[in-house]
Symmetry: C2
Subunit: 329 residues, 2 copies
């Protein structure tokens, strides 16, 4: 099958592209930015399966061009502006355009070109206030998206559901948990990096991390599990629900200090310590304590269960760090 991955150069998109290529699929990687050399090299063994198309999903002509140049059976729609507050204050219209109008544009192209299914990479951020008020988040839990990122992701989810109803375009949404792993980088549309990435950068640079006294509670999910989950949603015979949580479904206890230990074993110049009472940490944490996203629905309907706990994730992530030293240059 031929799969269009929008935002294929981004964090989630690129992990999915790797997984698709490894399985022998044909991939059309669509992204507004150029792939850095290190990413191009990572895909170089799959040149015959891979088409890279540069374009902006806000530009209808560029989207049409991709569909007219390639047979596309499936779409994984990962293109988004992963905005922080500064960008949201500065250019809210661009975020709305990419995240909502862009999604609609992809759905329209999917309908026109007889695409078999669109999988939309949404975000656990849509739960908003519920992340901090409820004990556990089910797909049916009430949402109150707070950031423009979350607002636009939720609107796009609902647009997917509505256009499926009106157009019979097959589309399913995955609400991603907090993703960690290879390939998180500055693409121009990602405004902050996860805690693990910040620590990896310090480790590679041989510096010392100063951690806050308390870790955030989080059901991190490894990027390769996210890719596998999206793949499962592409493959599934007939997903019964419009939305699926895609997270690890469990709290990674002591995850940050665990990652520091793992990094220390490979990068002897790296060290970490806890900030003193009057000291500032030099890494920051993704958001605050969050409720766990329940993953019963995707397990039951789709048969997908995450493979990576912290131990497996860190081993794999370290392998990648060693094999990809030029990622940090």
């Amino acid at each position: 099958m031929a799969i269009l991955v929008t935002g294929g150069g981004g964090f989630v998109g690129f992990n999915l592209v790797e997984a698709l290529l490894a399985r022998g699929e044909e991939v059309i990687l669509f992204d507004s930015g150029a792939l850095p050399a290190v990413a191009q090299r990572a895909l170089s063994g799959h040149a015959r399966q891979l088409n890279v198309a540069r374009g902006d999903i806000r530009d209808a002509a560029q989207v049409i061009q991709v569909f007219e140049s390639h047979r596309i059976d499936y779409i994984a729609h990962c293109a988004a502006v992963t905005s922080g507050a500064a960008r949201e204050a500065r250019e809210p219209a661009a975020i709305v355009d990419v995240n909502i109008n862009g999604t609609l544009s992809i759905l329209d192209a999917a309908r026109t070109h007889g695409v078999k299914r669109v999988v939309y990479a949404s975000s656990g951020a849509v739960y908003g206030e519920a992340l901090y008020r409820l004990a556990r988040l089910y797909e049916e839990s009430p949402v109150l998206p707070l950031s423009l990122y979350a607002i636009t992701k939720f609107a796009a989810e609902r647009v997917c559901a509505r256009m499926k109803e009106l157009w019979q375009t097959e589309v399913v949404c995955a609400r991603l948990g907090t993703v960690i792993g290879p390939w998180e980088r500055n693409t121009g549309v990602r405004d902050s990096y996860g805690t693990h990435t910040q620590l990896a950068a310090l480790a590679v640079a041989g510096r010392t991390a100063v951690l806050t006294q308390r870790e955030v509670r989080r059901d991190w999910i490894y990027s390769r599990d996210v890719a596998a989950g999206l793949l499962a949603l592409l493959d599934a015979r007939a997903p019964r629900h419009p939305v699926y949580n895609l997270s690890s479904g469990m709290e990674w206890k002591g995850a940050i200090r665990g990652w520091c230990e793992a990094l220390k074993s490979e990068f002897p110049d790296f060290d970490y310590r806890t900030a003193a009472d009057d000291e500032q940490a030099n890494i920051w944490y993704t958001d605050k304590d969050r409720a766990l996203m329940d993953v019963g629905r995707i397990a039951q309907d789709i048969g997908f269960v995450p493979r990576f706990g912290p131990r497996e994730a860190y081993a794999d992530y370290l392998e990648w760090l060693k094999a990809t030293p030029d990622f940090w240059r």
Copy 2:
């Protein structure tokens, strides 16, 4: 004060324009369509207070033009595409553009031009599934917007809340109930008419209405109460909440047959009856039974209480019908 009313030629907008003019305010009526002669005549006594500006809120240059041509202290943002399913299937992008991007554009102009407050006319439709599942709808009740109209109205509400936080732009949202009353007409962006309007049209034409056997349950609100509620939100010293329900807060029992009786008293050629078992009604109802929207918050915070029950609303509406016969030509 000078108030910009976007969508000022529409159903809700025009009722608000009338109320503002009656109170002696200066109004800038902004609309994408031309005002019909009957509407122009209705405002003709207030020519010195009124500025009519034609333009599309999707066009940034046209929005800027309005702000540069007029002092604007307050904005009532009523412009929207009130879409039905056919339009949602046909031109979803235009609906997203007007209802979300257009709202953002108005907020941006409000910030730039030091507007004191924006009141956004949202809709009870945002509750979506909750309208049919819960007994009573509070502003904090969970939402699941279903139609593209509802999805975009909810997204716009959340955009208002977020940009208020980021820009300190004063904005408050009103979730309107099911509005009945004068001036509901085909503006090009309203896809269906309320039951009361359909019956009024039959009455003026001297025809017979065939009703369904059972009425829908609904907390209708009279359009002049909606205008008064929006005005109260413009006037309020400091609304404590981002969103207020604006409905009558009570079920109008036998509202449809009551309206038919009222129409019969003024239009002797009009009649109505209930459809036989094998017969189709010739009017349709706005949606199905809905939960009532609680109006305790707007009463408590803003001091606004609707004045029109069915009796008062029908008397006033009949007066308008008699005084405005050319509305139906």
